[in-house]
Amino acid sequence: MIGYAVRRLLLVAVVAWGVTTFLFTLARLSGDPAELMSPPEASEAVIEATRERLGLNEPFFVQYGDALLSSFTFDFGDSFSFSQPAMAMVLERLGPSLWLVIPSLVLCVVLSFGIGTFAALRPSRLSGRLLMVGAFVTGSVPYFWMALLLVLLLAVNLQWLPATGSEGMASLVIPVVALTLAAVSTTTRLVRGQLLDSFNEGHVLTARSKGVPPWKVLFGHALPGAMPPLLAWLGIEFSFLFSALLVLEPLLGYNGLGALLIRSVGNQDFPLVQASVFCMAMLITLVNIAMDLIVRLIDPRLRAKAAA
């Protein structure tokens, strides 16, 4: 188990290196940052001074080494457009983004486990089938369009909520509902599928035939057996939600990490781009590794396999 944990955590280093290299390449491909940063009327001497200050006159490998060093010290320098430390800005914006991601994930888990279990218990009845049709259709609704529809309904027509902005709890409603609806469909279908598979497994059938009450079979035997792939899936869902944030936040004028990243890409503000992409990648990797480790801990089959 500990060996496995160490191996998985080594992956964090690999991802950190990979993401840094990717971003470094991007930054070099996009032209001379010194020229991008300077006003168009700047003299060659001023640009040269900026180049010197940013370390752009150093040999290639020194620059690449600096990039790696900045990733491992979480110090990406100052933002070009805001003249503040990039990492501090990213951390400041991460909070509002997590205020969208975490409630969405919690709602998604509650809804999908509830609906998925209900539907798995009546796979051939009309109610179970209708729920699955509903889940299927929900999963095909573009989340950004859903957000616009909610703005139209709740902000423009009914005027219950602000259409844009990120002040107060009311501004969370539209993005959280859109994100939850986008995430809940696949998870519900997966919960149902895993449970149905689990119902046919030997230990569940044995418990049933011994006369264990149905609710005990469900919560004590069937659900635990269905959990590992579902937990692994939630890690993937977490990264999907971050991707969706990048679209939803600028769309709804919400001041989170997604909106910051999109804006800094537009401004070619590379310290900010690097800091925010790096931060997201690390968060996503750590959450996925945590899910893998939890699966290892709770699934005796995997432990037995590892020991063999």
Binding site: V14, L121, V265
Partner: protein, 308 residues
């Protein structure tokens, strides 16, 4: 003697494989989802193909005198089926043309990613300890970066544009396919018929593509269908951020981008293109479900509902 028997064996093989794919196609058609998906996709493709002859108005013609007209069935003037946008362009005509681009993006990028992913997945599974290890770590790194962030960052470097976006989507998409098939490839590699092919002197590319690939095509085809829907959503999302298709060209996604600021005035210009995106995604998802069931008939024999 060998020269005499070889063609016979070959033709028998071809005949058998044809009947197998016919059988699978028959099962796709026999499936409820397939029965809906195939006519739906067929209709969408036909509409897109014949758009120039169907459209009632020139989709790019601006007519400020007819700007912001509601659909005629809501009392709008000028007889526009789905109304006009703020520049007076006919929403229905634009929708049909936008559908063309969205379908092309979905099919072409999903196919590109599938081919790329199939080849790299075969290589990664076959040379599992050398190249394979490197490829799968690369997939881990890619997996940690939210896709929209990649699209946005690369678009900032190479400039926005639909062809560039499609290339980025196809190239980045390999990892999903490779991850899905890599384990099956390394299992199939150890089977007797592969050893036999080795023994008679088959070259590595022949072994990979003729002997191993047919055994892992199933998951690739399933993933292809759902990822076509996902690619359409991603293209729409990035076009919504202004990074996909550039004016005067347009897709269903960029129609949302054009109309979202005037949601209050011309809601029909936002609602209907989103609905069209949803229909296309539903069709591809249904097809994916049907293919999944067709390739894995046992998945549908579910547990006895009376047990609960």
């Amino acid at each position: 003697m060998t020269t005499a028997t070889a063609p016979v064996a070959k033709s028998r093989h071809v005949e058998r494989s044809r009947s197998r794919s016919a059988e699978i196609l028959g099962r796709v058609w026999g499936d409820t989802s397939g029965r809906i998906a195939v006519p739906m996709l067929g209709a969408l493709v036909l509409i897109a193909l014949f758009a120039p002859w169907i459209v009632p108005h020139d989709p790019t013609h601006q007519n400020l005198a007819a700007a912001g007209q509601a659909p005629f069935w809501l009392g709008g003037e000028g007889g526009h089926l789905l109304g006009t946008d703020t520049l007076g362009r006919d929403v229905f005509s634009r929708l049909l043309y936008g559908l063309r681009l969205s379908l092309v993006v979905g099919v072409v990028t999903a196919t590109g990613a599938a081919l790329f992913g199939l080849v790299l997945g075969l290589v990664a599974g076959y040379f599992e300890n050398g190249v394979g290890m490197v490829l799968m770590r690369l997939a881990d790194i890619q997996f940690a970066i939210p896709f929209v962030a990649v699209g946005v960052a690369l678009a900032a470097v190479v400039g926005p544009g639909i062809v560039k976006l499609m290339i980025i989507l196809a190239v980045w998409g390999w990892a999903n396919y490779a991850r899905t098939i890599v384990n099956s490839v390394s299992q199939v590699k150890r089977m007797d018929f592969v050893t036999a092919a080795h023994t008679v002197g088959a070259r590595t590319p022949a072994i990979l593509f003729r002997h191993i690939a047919p055994n892992v095509l199933g998951p690739v085809v399933i993933l292809w269908s759902t990822s076509a829907g996902v690619m359409i959503l991603v293209e729409s999302a990035l076009s919504l951020l202004g990074l996909g298709v550039q004016p005067p060209d347009f897709s269903l996604g960029s129609m949302l981008s054009d109309s979202r600021t005037t949601l209050r005035l011309t809601w029909w210009a936002t609602v209907f293109p989103g609905l069209a995106i949803m229909l296309v995604v539903v069709a591809f998802n249904l097809l994916g479900d049907a293919i999944r069931d067709a390739l894995n008939p046992s998945a549908r024999t579910r547990s006895d509902p009376e047990l609960w």
